[in-house]
């Protein structure tokens, strides 16, 4: 239950380090995307940042 791998995975997920892997996994699972090509890592990262920072995202 408590091991280094779990902690590492947690840090990667909270920080967004593995967002692209999660995106690819979701993309493959989701049938409606079958005809499309997934975004490149660079494009995905760019669009993620745009989406994240176009609204109130940090508090006082």
């Amino acid at each position: 239950m408590f091991n280094i791998k779990n902690i590492w995975n947690y840090i990667r997920t909270v920080s967004g380090d593995n967002d692209y892997e999660v995106y690819l996994e979701n993309f493959r699972r989701c049938k409606k995307h079958h005809k499309d090509v997934p975004l490149s890592r660079s494009k995905f990262f760019q669009s993620k940042l745009e989406g994240k920072w176009n609204k109130i995202n940090r508090c006082c």
Binding site: L49, E50, K55, R58, C60
Partner: protein, 675 residues
């Protein structure tokens, strides 16, 4: 058997919490150990979470595990993504935890440790955490709608407008006051200035790394950035020791304010990936790391609290900001107890990531409790300082004078022992030329944190710890400044788009430049006035920010109360109505006093008329007239803003009362916007 064991455990936790809390509240003659603050906080939080949040979730909100959340129903792998509860807790906490819970308690310590500590604990449990959880729940039930949209749909167009304008005003005042905190920390400090300046190229370097060299590799880029930040703290001492390099970074407050204004404009115009996003990654890691480190250090060191439980400044004569303990301790603590700003996060990103409704108490209520715990640690860090040192650092020149002997004799006259030699030695130990009149909370918090860190992990490193703490505060204050300016720009573009569609396009460069300029000018103006104000600026800006933030919280609680009433849960409406009534009392009283008090350190209008009188009677030298006239205009402007905030708050509350009465007399056809 298990049931009895549980009851015994929770009974013991409750008794320990009550004992620790009574020790904090009743101890007068002897000093008290900081560990009791931590014990009281942890016990109160766990009991409140286990019982109060669970009761609200099951009885009032009726959380239903079988209902699919928007993240599950509308999963698009981008905005709506079902997220593990622990991961979402981390994301939500990183979003709500800003500089507020650090600065507010540090300033409120002028009343002594007790008033602020009580409000941090009680306010969070009964108000702030309830607000965050209730708004999160209602937003989840409405496909992740924002507070503004919910206010508009449940209360009316005026309430929607009030939350929009309230958000914009908070953003402007918040950025100005946080800018002032950073400026006061960097003022005539080459070490602090060079370290903070170094965070800009470091963030840009990290941005380029994540964009071009290793796209999206957040952790490795952040690790490189954090190492560079630590090197920048060390290299700051090299700058400080070099006569030739010192001159490049030794600047007055006014120069630094202009530099920050220009920086703010450039940061708002630059692409997100270049500065804002990488700085946020750095600040989040530094922030979480430092807070954990501080908690460990307090647990190891168990420092004694030196500040008295209650000081004589509860009468309103405090040097840092004017105003009596009621209502100003509630206004000053701000985010550590209840923050309207949190409602924007709870109705923004977080509801779109909730995997199951049963996670709502942990994310909403639990997230706020952790933020409140940060505020408790800030209070401890401020109160482990000798009170004389605390007041010598935080008192502005306008109150205590400018000469060291003059400052010390003034502080001694209040009954707090401190000497010029002691302050000089402390300044030398932390690598500063002086620590007098560094109003704003950041330097005193840094001295407090550095003292704790140095005693726990190495006394000879006090100067490094101090500048690490300054860098830690500055790095996420600048993130708030960058992101706040950008959000202000989006809001303005949205509004201007109604008049000229092209101006509403967020990617059109002329619109970006124009709206960024307007937003930066707004907060830049308040920052400039704060810097030239001989009373330190914090005296005006922080209460104004506190009033605006609590007003937004009152609007969020009004939305929560209205939805509960309209959902036939009027018997549960008190859970949001009680904190709402309390916020209404404190914001209205504070606003009234800030506008009309005859004490010139509290009332905007009396301060303006006193200053005018001094000019007319020739007491102000010719070179000071220009500044005095600017201050007079600003005081009148602040009075106008405060009146405006109070009016829109009462309009919203009257709307809630109208809905309650109509519901009671069954004349109101209840229409809820939930899905």
């Amino acid at each position: 058997m298990k049931n009895i064991k549980n009851k015994i455990i929770w009974g013991l936790v409750s008794i320990l919490g009550a004992f620790a809390f009574s020790l904090i509240a009743l101890q007068r003659e002897e000093s008290i150990n900081a560990i009791w603050f931590i014990t009281a906080a942890i016990c109160i939080y766990t009991v409140a979470y286990r019982f109060y949040s669970a009761w609200i979730a099951t009885k009032a909100l009726v959380i239903d595990e079988s209902i699919q959340t928007p993240a599950v129903r509308l999963n698009n792998s981008r905005d709506f993504v079902p997220t593990n509860k622990w991961v979402l807790f981390g994301i939500h906490f990183a979003a709500i935890a800003g500089p507020g819970p650090l600065v507010g308690p540090t300033l409120a310590a002028q009343f002594g440790y007790l008033p602020g500590t009580i409000w941090i604990l009680v306010g969070a449990v009964v108000g702030g955490a309830v607000q965050d959880m209730v708004i999160l729940f209602f937003s989840v039930r409405r496909n992740g709608k924002s507070l503004g949209q919910m206010a508009k749909e449940e209360l009316g167009v005026l309430a929607g407008f009030a939350s929009l304008i309230g958000t914009f005003i908070i953003m402007i005042i918040l950025i100005a006051v946080l800018g002032l905190v950073v400026v006061n920390a960097m003022k005539n400090s080459p070490w602090a200035t060079s370290t903070v300046a170094a965070t800009i190229p470091i963030a840009i370097l990290v941005g380029f790394y994540m964009r071009f060299i290793r796209p999206g590799r957040v952790l490795e880029a952040t690790a490189i950035g954090v190492i560079l930040l630590l090197m920048a703290v060390y290299l700051g001492s090299v700058v400080d020791n070099s006569e030739s390099m010192r001159s490049y970074f030794d600047h007055s407050g006014l120069f630094l304010a202009w530099a920050l204004i220009i920086y703010g404009f450039i940061a708002a115009v630059l692409p997100i990936w270049m500065l804002l996003a990488p700085r946020d990654y750095l600040s989040t890691f530094v922030k979480l790391g430092t807070v954990i480190f501080l908690a460990i250090a307090i647990a190891i060191l168990q420092p004694e609290i030196k500040m008295p439980a209650v000081t004589q400044f509860t009468d309103g004569s405090g040097p840092i900001f004017g105003g009596s303990v009621f209502p100003f301790v509630f206004i000053t603590i701000a985010c550590g107890a209840i923050s309207g700003f949190h409602a924007l996060i709870s109705s923004g990103t977080t509801p779109k990531l909730i995997d199951n409704e049963k996670h709502i108490p942990m994310i909403g209520y639990g997230g706020m409790l952790l933020e409140s715990f940060v505020a408790i640690m800030a209070m401890v860090a401020a109160c482990v300082l000798e009170p004389g040192i605390y007041f010598a650092i935080n008192s502005p020149a306008g109150v205590v004078g400018t000469e060291p002997n003059q400052i010390i004799s003034k502080i001694n006259s209040w009954g707090y022992a401190v000497t010029v030699e002691q302050m000089n030695q402390l300044a030398k130990d932390v690598g500063e030329s002086t620590l007098f009149a560094r109003t704003g909370g950041a330097p005193s918090l840094a001295v407090g944190m550095a003292t704790i860190f140095a005693n726990a992990f190495g006394k000879h490193l006090l100067a490094l710890w101090y500048h690490f703490a300054i860098m830690f505060e500055a790095v996420f204050i600048l993130t708030t400044l960058d992101s706040g300016t950008r959000v202000g720009r989006f809001m303005l573009q949205d509004m201007l788009g109604n008049f000229h569609p092209k101006l509403g396009q967020t990617s059109w460069l002329p619109s970006i430049i124009l709206t960024s300029f307007i937003v930066v000018s707004c907060w830049g103006y308040f920052l400039y006035i704060g810097v030239i104000d001989p009373n330190g600026g914090v005296n005006i800006l922080w209460p104004l920010f506190g009033i605006a933030n609590q007003m937004l919280a009152a609007i969020a609680l009004s939305v929560g109360t209205a939805i509960l009433i309209k959902s036939d849960k009027i018997s549960f409406a008190w859970i949001t109505a009680i904190p709402l009534v309390w916020l209404l009392i404190i914001t209205t009283t504070a606003s009234y006093q800030k506008i009309f008090s005859e004490d010139i350190r509290i009332g905007f209008l009396s301060a303006a008329s006193s200053m005018s009188k001094k000019i007319n009677e020739g007491y102000v030298p010719e070179y000071g007239i220009d500044v005095a006239e600017k201050l007079i205009f600003n005081l009148k402007l602040d009075a106008g803003i405060t009146i405006f905030l109070v009016i829109i708050l009462w309009v919203v509350v009257i709307d809630v009362i109208r809905i309650a009465l109509k519901t009671k007399f069954n004349k109101h056809k209840r229409k809820l916007s939930n899905v």
